[in-house]
Amino acid sequence: MTSELILFFILAIVAVASAVGMLLSRNAVYAALYLILNFATVAVFYLMLSAAFISLVQVTVYAGAIMVLFLFVIMLLGAEHTGRLSESGWMFWTPIVLGAVLAVEALYIILRQWKAIPATQAAGSDFGAPAAVGLELFQNYLLPFEVTSVLLLVAMIGAILLARSKKA
């Protein structure tokens, strides 16, 4: 348990530091790299919670696919240098206000439910196994799954429609 705790705190420091680094870096490529590091740390968190499937999907989808596209676009457009944000603009204040709301909300829930949190118990041997996840997804959550897939399909068709050349 203690070794797990030590590991948790090291990972937590990396996660928070990479998130702060992402916010503070002036260069968009570095920001993207910090975000990738953050995603990777979250994946290791999942692994510590013995959810190997979610962890690897996190790496494949977020760190692998989505962030590669982000990086690709940043480099292709040459948009590395974002410049300094003005400290009075709405792009500066809105995130701070929203972040404060989220923090207060989270604190409220944690403090109110402090006693109600059940003691941790060891996960079952087939917890997070691909078969278990698949069955759960296709039996109990079939409708959300299908709705998500339709949503992605619509986005894909929209992108193709927008990118299509006029004459074809």
Binding site: L56, T60, A63, A65, F72, P130
Partner: protein
């Protein structure tokens, strides 16, 4: 945690890394010799008897070369990028068993680092992060040729990853497991190559693109990009890219052997477990020869053709193959296992149809090109 188990893992990881490093060195020798033979040359034959010390000479040369860092490069990333390229190549084989278990010093030792129940996903995850090293190398060099090489490679790898992932679904469906060990065990009777011929071809083509091997070595097209993403690298940093490329060749060959060729399985492997690694070695050796053979035979394809091929041919074909595999498995479940053979029949039919359509399309495309020229 059991200390002996920890020690066993560390020793096995070290052995795997050492094997990969040595086999990388001799893979370069193998490639140069085989290429030379195909091109009616002799190849390296000066260093040591028959040229067998050539890899050592190469290593010494690369270590003592001067290392340059461009003045306007992004230094930190410039240094990290080669390591990021090498890392996935080193860790990707951790989930592939190299044999069944043997008894060593009174301990049951399984040959292979670990066999997790999401092994295939692990391979996909590592493959998906392997593009970063190349992209970052291209960007941090602050050189337009390097940059173009990096962007090309990221576009290429994203495109071919789809077909790659879909081609792996075939073996997963047939073995009903994502663990590489169980997929290998499911091939006890028959290799998945025969049940999934189209899947194996798609996998092979997509991995050639993933590891930037000829004829898909666009990121390093010399005529267009001088050398591509590693043009500013020299000395040991360049060597790391070189090592990564050849290690990836080995890694994808091992994975293909595990998914479609029965991995370490062969005659008498249940009685003599030590035969397992040997069978795997032979299979990988043959697959590597095919890679070298392809390089010696096929010219590099044009970049727009490469993207069109990936998206318009390989991807739909892979989707069709997944669908047909599922249909075949349902047929086999309802009418008996003999119907499993409908999978190769249907998928080869689909392959031929796509092939015919593609030829038709390419013929009209080149006809159009000719008419434009007039």
């Amino acid at each position: 945690m059991d200390l002996a188990l920890l020690l066993e893992w560390i020793i096995k990881s070290l052995v795997l890394i050492l094997i990969l490093l040595t086999s990388f060195a001799y893979l370069t020798f193998y490639e140069r010799k085989a290429l030379a033979r195909i091109q009616v040359r002799i190849g390296p034959n000066r260093a040591g008897p028959g040229g067998w010390l050539q890899p050592v000479a190469d290593a010494v040369k690369l270590i003592f070369k001067e290392e340059l860092t461009p003045a306007k490069a992004y230094k930190v990333i410039f240094v990290i990028a080669p390591m990021l390229t090498l890392l996935p190549a080193l860790i990707i084989l951790a989930v592939v068993p190299f044999g069944s278990s043997i008894t060593l010093f009174g301990r049951q030792v399984s040959l292979g680092i670990t066999d997790i129940n999401v092994g295939v996903l692990y391979i996909m995850a590592v493959a998906s992060i392997s593009v970063y090293g190349i992209v970052l190398a291209g960007w941090s060099s602050n050189n337009k040729y390097a940059m173009l090489g990096g962007i090309r490679s990221s576009a290429q790898m994203i495109s071919y990853e789809l077909a790659l992932g879909l081609s792996i679904i075939g073996p997963i469906l047939l073995a009903e497991s994502m663990s590489i060990g169980e997929i290998i065990d499911a091939q006890r009777g028959i290799w998945f190559l025969f049940l999934q011929p189209v899947g194996a071809i798609i996998f092979w083509t997509a991995t050639l693109a993933e590891v930037n091997r000829s004829p898909f070595d666009m990121p390093e097209a010399e005529q267009e990009l001088t050398a591509g993403y590693h043009v500013e690298y020299s000395g040991m940093k360049f060597a790391l890219f070189f090592i990564a490329e050849y290690m990836k060749m080995i890694a994808v060959s091992v994975i293909l052997a595990a998914l479609f060729l029965g991995g370490y399985r062969g005659p008498f492997v249940d009685q003599v477990p030590l035969l397992g690694p040997l069978y795997l070695f032979v299979k990988v050796f043959v697959l590597l020869f095919i890679m070298i053979w392809v390089r010696a035979t096929l010219p590099r394809i044009r970049y727009d053709r490469l993207m069109a091929f990936g998206w318009k041919l390989l991807f739909p074909l892979a989707l069709t193959n997944v669908f047909l595999t599922a249909v075949g498995i349902i047929l086999a479940d309802t009418y008996g296992p003999a119907f499993l053979w409908s999978i190769p029949l249907m998928s080869i039919l689909a392959f031929l149809v796509v092939n015919y359509l593609a030829r038709d399309r390419i013929a009209t495309a080149s006809a159009q090109a000719v008419s434009f020229r007039r």
